[in-house]
């Protein structure tokens, strides 16, 4: 889909979420009516055949509004997982329902307590009376509101599968984990000897490990989209406030200290926006390198959001610290986002693993400190005779600097 369609989608989303107000709870049926749950569902199953690029537009708007919505749990995790499974009548039925906003499938792909995020949180064991499910996953978004739980588990052969279980199945526990962020709902999912029918064990259509990696990257980038949206909202709110709030007889936005803080926010948000856009488009295109872009986007956008909202609170002054102003809602959501689906440090560890693997084959820069004055004639094309003028003291090219507009003063 092109940028125009994204703009339209964004405008509709902003309008719809705007009606619910900041930190509002948009009516799920309204979102379903707008077709949001079915965006990535295949057309054959009554979906819109769109990609993660379109889902990302909605996610940023949900962040901008700090909306209380189970979109992350149901659409990003639940439906996102269902689309990656082998087609089967049960799965198709659930997906078709979900596309219309029904069924509320939520997936538990990772244990939020497990920073490495590499192992399946559940396992299926074979017992005398059939298959039994064990394990736990903490901080699963929207699990307490799920109509159906999709639990990532290792089957008895050690192959990752999805166990499709009823939230009220005997032995299954779904306990809400109240958090300071009032806009997200998280829950601890535990399974102790839960009976699982063979027909409820669903296999991934492609390579399970690669698919799970992509689903987790997708979840991380979804949260990054949310953080980007809420950063943009807080920057806009801060700028609007700085234009009207007056002290010392001037709008506070005319003071350089305030102005420069706002400029820094815009720069950070601009960089985050590019990194998120890159990760989203690579995920939408199933690019195998998307995992690097995902870690960059998650670590940067979610770290930036906390900085930006923190600055927003600071620049709103005493008003910003009040409950009434609502800045705290964004600060808590930004801080929670930062820890969901991998902290910035965890994502950077993933990035850094590549340096350790590569460092032996990287070319060394040839920097010769003191001597090393080879005759110029050795160069492929050099034509000059040896110079006679004094040797340059240090060699640092200086004219390669674009003159940006600041050289011309701002006034």
């Amino acid at each position: 889909m092109d940028a125009e369609i994204h703009d339209e989608l964004r405008a509709v989303a902003r309008d719809l979420l705007g009606k619910a107000g900041p930190a509002g709870r948009p009516d799920w049926q309204l979102l379903a009516g707008a077709g949001w749950p079915g965006l990535e569902v295949p057309g054959a199953l009554d979906g819109a055949d769109a990609t993660f690029a379109e889902t990302a537009v909605i996610l940023a708007e949900l962040g901008r509004a700090a909306a209380r919505s189970p979109y992350l749990g149901i659409v990003v995790l639940g439906i996102g997982t269902l689309t990656q499974l082998e087609p089967a009548p049960d799965r198709d039925k659930l997906l078709r329902e979900a596309a219309t906003g029904a069924g509320a499938p939520v997936a538990a792909l990772a244990d939020g307590d497990d920073e490495s995020g590499t192992s399946a949180p559940f396992r299926i064991e074979r017992s005398a009376r059939g298959l039994r499910l064990h394990g736990r996953a903490a901080f699963v978004p929207d699990a307490a509101q799920a109509g159906r739980l999709l639990l990532l588990a290792l089957d008895p052969g050690g192959v990752p599968v999805i166990a499709n279980v009823e939230p009220h199945a005997p032995g299954l526990g779904v306990a809400a984990q109240p958090v300071l962020d009032a806009t997200r709902r998280l829950a601890l999912v535990t399974a102790d000897n839960v009976e699982v029918r063979q027909t409820s064990v669903w296999r991934f259509a492609g390579d399970p490990q690669g698919t799970i990696r992509r689903l987790l990257d997708r979840a991380a980038v979804a949260v990054a989209c949310d953080s980007l949206g809420l950063s943009e909202a807080m920057l806009a709110a801060t700028v609007a406030y700085a234009k009207v709030r007056e002290q010392f007889g001037r709008p506070i936005g005319s003071f350089q200290a305030v102005k420069h803080a706002c400029a820094d926010m815009l720069v950070q948000v601009s960089v985050a926006r590019e990194l998120v856009a890159q990760a989203v488009s690579q995920l939408a295109e199933n690019d195998p390198h998307a995992t690097v872009a995902a870690s960059m986007a998650k670590s940067h956008a979610c770290g930036t959001a906390v900085d930006v909202v923190g600055k927003a609170m600071q620049l709103h002054g005493g008003m910003g610290y009040t409950w009434e102003s609502g800045v705290h809602v964004y600060l808590k959501r930004a801080a929670l986002n930062r820890s969901l689906f991998g902290s910035p440090a965890a994502h950077r560890r993933r990035l850094a693993g590549r340096y350790l693997a590569q460092s032996t084959v990287l070319a060394k820069p040839t920097v010769i400190a003191r001597s090393g004055q080879l005759p110029a004639a050795r160069l492929a094309f050099a034509s000059s005779p040896a110079g006679t003028s004094p040797t340059r003291t240090t060699e640092c090219p200086s004219s390669s600097r674009p003159n940006t507009s600041g050289q011309i003063s701002q006034h």
């Binding site: 950077r348 492929a380 003291t393 507009s405 050289q407």
Partner: protein, 400 residues
């Protein structure tokens, strides 16, 4: 780049082949500690090589010898950096600032006179700043007095990089002393061989003497060398500086990603005196991942700026955002390089000419990074521009 279109992939392969056969072997060593003449001759020869290949001015319009799509330029710059090709230092102002000015505001005659000459190696310098006109450039005092079909220029310019080698100068001078300060400035093309010009180098923090003062004493400029209308020079400078900003940053961002970061990792992978590698430290790994991420963001920002510019007028603050972010990222990275490379880095007393801003001689690179955060609009000025033009915050009360 995995989803690169076929024609770009082919172009990338062609640039790689070209680099393998044309990047002079051992140029870093050979260009460390050379004389000015050798440096100039090396730069001119490298410019000629790039020109022969069609790589010198890819950003110019097709009719003047350019016309490469932005995506191709990104590939070109990233491959040149990856193959550690020398940078075009001497020709920089000519191919970017001078060309953008001539293309946007020059007469046909001025373009025909200078654009081909630039391809033949004509060197340009920018004569904008003055001792009393830095951040507040519009308060410049150099005068150009009309005298029939010519102007007589008097004054002093400062921070003119590479003026000792320049053939021509982009000059801002005051032609309307009674007008409000921005409405009395004109834009001239000044032949540096004109009598009355005295160029004196200034020694910089790095020890080099690349910035210059230009003294102008009754220098005669024909009226035909005026760019744009008399007293309309401020607008010309504003427009044309914007035109080239994206392109220059595109190249520098690719350099930072392809060469600078690679060397930073390499520096961290070098065992220290105790045999320990900084790279094995988790804190070092974390910092590297931050830099890699920030560079990825910078590169994407630069591409966006150039794409937007092709599509229409770019956002008013885009260029300032890129300049500010690049400058401070370069400073943070070279600072970190200095820190991890330890005392040994301080024994690298020179860096090769024609290299990038991150040469791997980290201490000199770090000291030299202020050449990015101060000139071309200080970081403070950039933040003010970003806030006022990008966010619409109220302007500072203007002093007298």
């Amino acid at each position: 780049m995995s989803s690169e279109p076929r024609d770009l992939e082919e172009f990338r392969a062609a640039v790689r082949d070209w680099c393998r056969t044309h990047v002079p072997r051992g140029w870093r060593q050979a260009q460390t500690g050379v004389s000015d003449e050798e440096y100039v001759s090396f730069q001119k020869a490298w410019f000629h090589e790039l020109r022969q290949a069609g790589f010198a001015v890819p950003h110019w319009p097709k009719q003047w010898g350019g016309g490469m799509p932005v995506a191709g330029q990104v590939v070109l710059y990233s491959e040149l950096a990856a193959h550690d090709a020398p940078r075009l230092v001497l020709a920089f102002v000519a191919i970017h600032h001078a060309a953008a000015t001539l293309l946007a505001a020059g007469t046909d005659e001025q373009r025909r006179r200078h654009l081909p000459a630039i391809l033949d190696g004509e060197i340009w310098v920018q004569g904008f700043s003055e001792p009393g006109a830095g951040s507040d450039l519009a308060s410049l005092k150099t005068t150009a007095r009309r005298d029939g079909d010519r102007y007589v220029v008097n004054g002093q310019k400062l921070w003119a990089s590479g003026a000792t080698h320049a053939d021509w100068c982009l000059l801002l001078a005051r032609t309307g002393p009674a007008a409000p300060k921005r409405r009395g400035i004109s834009y001239f093309l000044l032949d540096m061989r004109t009598p009355g010009i005295d160029v004196r180098p200034i020694r910089q923090a790095t020890g080099e003497s690349h910035f210059c003062e230009i003294f102008l004493n009754d220098v005669v400029v024909p009226a035909t060398q005026l760019v744009g209308p008399e007293n309309g020079g401020w607008r010309v400078a504003q427009q044309t500086l914007g035109a080239e900003r994206g392109m220059t940053m595109l190249e520098l961002a690719e350099r930072l990603g392809q060469a600078g970061f690679r060397w930073l990792v390499e520096s961290c992978a070098r065992p220290g005196p105790g045999g320990r590698r900084p790279l094995d430290d988790g804190l070092v790994q974390d910092r590297l991942a931050v830099f890699e991420t920030e560079i990825a963001g910078l590169r994407a920002l630069c591409r966006r700026l150039v794409d937007d510019h092709e599509a229409g007028p770019p956002g008013p603050a885009g260029a300032s955002i890129v300049k500010l972010y690049y400058s401070e990222l370069l400073q943070r990275m070279t600072d970190f390089g200095t820190e991890v490379a330890g005392l040994a880095a301080h024994t690298e007393l020179r860096k090769p000419v024609s290299s990038g801003w991150e040469s791997g001689a980290w201490v000199l690179d770090f000291v030299g990074s202020w050449e990015w955060t101060i000139p071309g609009g200080t970081s403070e000025i950039q933040r003010t521009i970003i806030a006022e033009r990008g966010l619409g915050l109220p302007r500072e009360p203007i002093g007298s």
